[in-house]
């Protein structure tokens, strides 16, 4: 993955957040302050503006800009949590021009560690960790059992979506929803939902990147002939 692929991923996240804004807000209205969709959408719109102004940059720089923009523009829990996630991923990738599936695994792990450090949430607490942790675990398992980047991001997307659905019957143990006790049961967690959406955008960006490379690759070969 290179900077173009990371930009396409972040652009995909922004587009999905725009499309799902009302859905996320609706989920949050049941167990929170009904601002998750609005906050995430506003934050990523700011990220897109910032990234457009950033010239050539490494993947790590792009992710660090995303994290910092998120922390400064998004209120509530989403700002510090997602901000930390992107910042940690960006720090891990350093200033390499491109990175492979193993480095992506390290970046995702750093994101999860960061989120858990800030939020102190474990799996089963009905938070974004319930999408991030299984998504990361499935991605890692697929890589370790001989999968490619493409199959690994797909496994990650599927596990994150499944983890999100699994938040429905949970009683929240972290965040504002935990104040509601039993009343938090029966609702899907908005934070897990937005995390699953990021995994879906990641898969899409990786697949688009591959098909583009394939197309450019064949063009290059054709021109050589």
């Amino acid at each position: 993955m290179d900077a173009a692929c990371v930009r396409s991923w972040l652009g995909g996240v922004a587009a999905r957040l725009e499309a799902e804004r009302d859905f996320l807000t609706q989920l949050d209205a049941a167990i929170g302050d009904a601002d998750h969709g609005i906050n995430m959408h506003r934050g990523f719109a700011a990220v897109m503006r910032k990234l457009a102004a950033v010239g050539p940059a490494t993947p790590g720089q792009l992710l660090r800009v995303t994290g910092r923009t998120f922390v400064s523009t998004v209120g509530g829990a989403a700002g510090p949590l997602y901000g930390t996630a992107f910042l940690q991923a960006g720090e891990t990738l350093g200033d390499e021009g491109s990175f492979g599936p193993r480095r992506l695994l390290e970046a995702l792990r750093a994101s999860l560690d960061g989120v858990q450090r800030v939020g102190a949430a474990s799996e089963g607490d009905k938070t974004m960790v319930d999408a991030l942790a299984p998504g990361l675990a499935a991605y890692e398992l697929e890589l370790r059992t001989g999968g490619s980047l493409e199959t690994a991001v797909r496994a990650g997307r599927e596990a994150a979506a499944e983890g999100t659905r699994a938040t429905v019957p949970m009683q929240a143990r972290k965040g504002r929803a935990s104040y509601l006790g039993p009343r938090s049961v029966g609702h899907q967690d908005p934070g897990a939902t937005s995390t699953a959406l990021m995994f879906a955008a990641l898969e899409q960006a990786v697949l688009a990147d591959r098909s583009q490379r394939f197309a450019t690759g064949s063009r290059t070969r054709a021109s050589r002939r």
């Binding site: 209205a29 167990i31 929170g32 302050d33 009904a34 601002d35 209120g75 509530g76 829990a77 989403a78 700002g79 510090p80 949590l81 450090r117 800030v118 939020g119 102190a120 019957p169 009683q171 972290k174 965040g175 504002r176 935990s178 104040y179 509601l180 006790g181 039993p182 009343r183 049961v185 029966g186």
Partner: protein, 258 residues
């Protein structure tokens, strides 16, 4: 202890902890009783409208009489009743949400909640229960408890709710000292990431702490660069006014000097 009353209470709690309705068999499993026993208890509870049966599925859920009891509890709660006007005024002045709470075991029970007056959608937290050590209200109350009570709470479990929750006895002891020194308790994302709180204790005519009132809101509003001075002043003033109304003398309230 009357066994059947205890069993009925367990059934109500089981129904209260599920969003789905429960059938007699499921309930019997959950509370560990024979189906016939559970059925008899449910019929009695239903006669008093404490539970309701869904006619289509035959499953049970909580009934409307519980809401009436809950409301009666709040209405008869003297602190809550007296806090209504002060809480409204504080919310209007500080433009943030106001919480009023009392200590209930190791938790703060919110008995009143005024929404942040900005017309945004918010969720009513009356009845919510927050570990004392993680919120401004709890720290404001515990700082002024009798030493024995305070020791007991400090020895109890201190669960971590965020990366910033104070979870050691030592850290909390110095925090409680700071509360007493400043007359205000500060919560910096210790219960919810991104959320802060400022609270001051409430005293009765014996000078005993009976609860706390405070602001809850985005950390960037309440703690822009340390606690916002105006918000602190508003919280202390509301707490002093409300304490006087509860019978506390001008001098009997330890926090009154500030």
């Amino acid at each position: 202890m009357i066994q059947s009353v205890g069993r009925a209470a367990r059934i109500l709690k089981a129904l209260g902890s599920e969003s789905a309705r429960l059938g007699v068999t499921e309930l019997a499993e959950r509370v560990g009783l024979a189906k016939a026993t559970v059925y008899g208890l449910l019929r009695t509870l239903e006669a008093h409208q404490f539970v309701q049966q869904d006619l289509e599925t035959g499953k049970y859920r909580l009934g409307p009489a519980l809401l009436q009891l809950g409301n009666a509890f709040l209405d008869h709660h003297e602190l809550r009743a007296r806090s209504l006007l002060w809480a409204d005024a504080l919310a209007a002045r500080a433009r943030e949400a106001v919480h009023v709470g009392v200590l209930y075991g190791p938790n703060v029970l919110l008995v009143h909640h005024v929404f942040r007056p900005d017309h945004s959608v918010q969720i009513l937290l009356v009845g919510a229960s927050i570990p004392w050590h993680a919120c401004a209200l709890g720290k404001a109350i515990v700082a002024y408890l009798e030493p024995a009570q305070r020791r007991e709470l400090l020895a109890g479990p201190l669960p971590r709710l965020t990366g910033r929750t104070l979870t050691t006895r030592q850290a909390l002891l110095s925090e409680l000292d700071r509360v007493v020194a400043g007359g205000v308790a500060v919560e910096d994302q210790e219960a919810i990431v991104g959320e802060a709180g400022l609270a001051a204790p409430l005293f009765d005519n014996r000078g005993a702490v009976v609860g706390a009132i405070g602001l809850a809101g985005p950390v960037e509003h309440l703690l822009p660069d340390g606690p916002a001075a105006e918000a602190v002043a508003a919280v202390k003033q509301a707490a002093r006014g409300l304490s006087r109304e509860l019978g506390a003398g001008r001098l009997s309230a330890p926090g009154a000097g500030a």
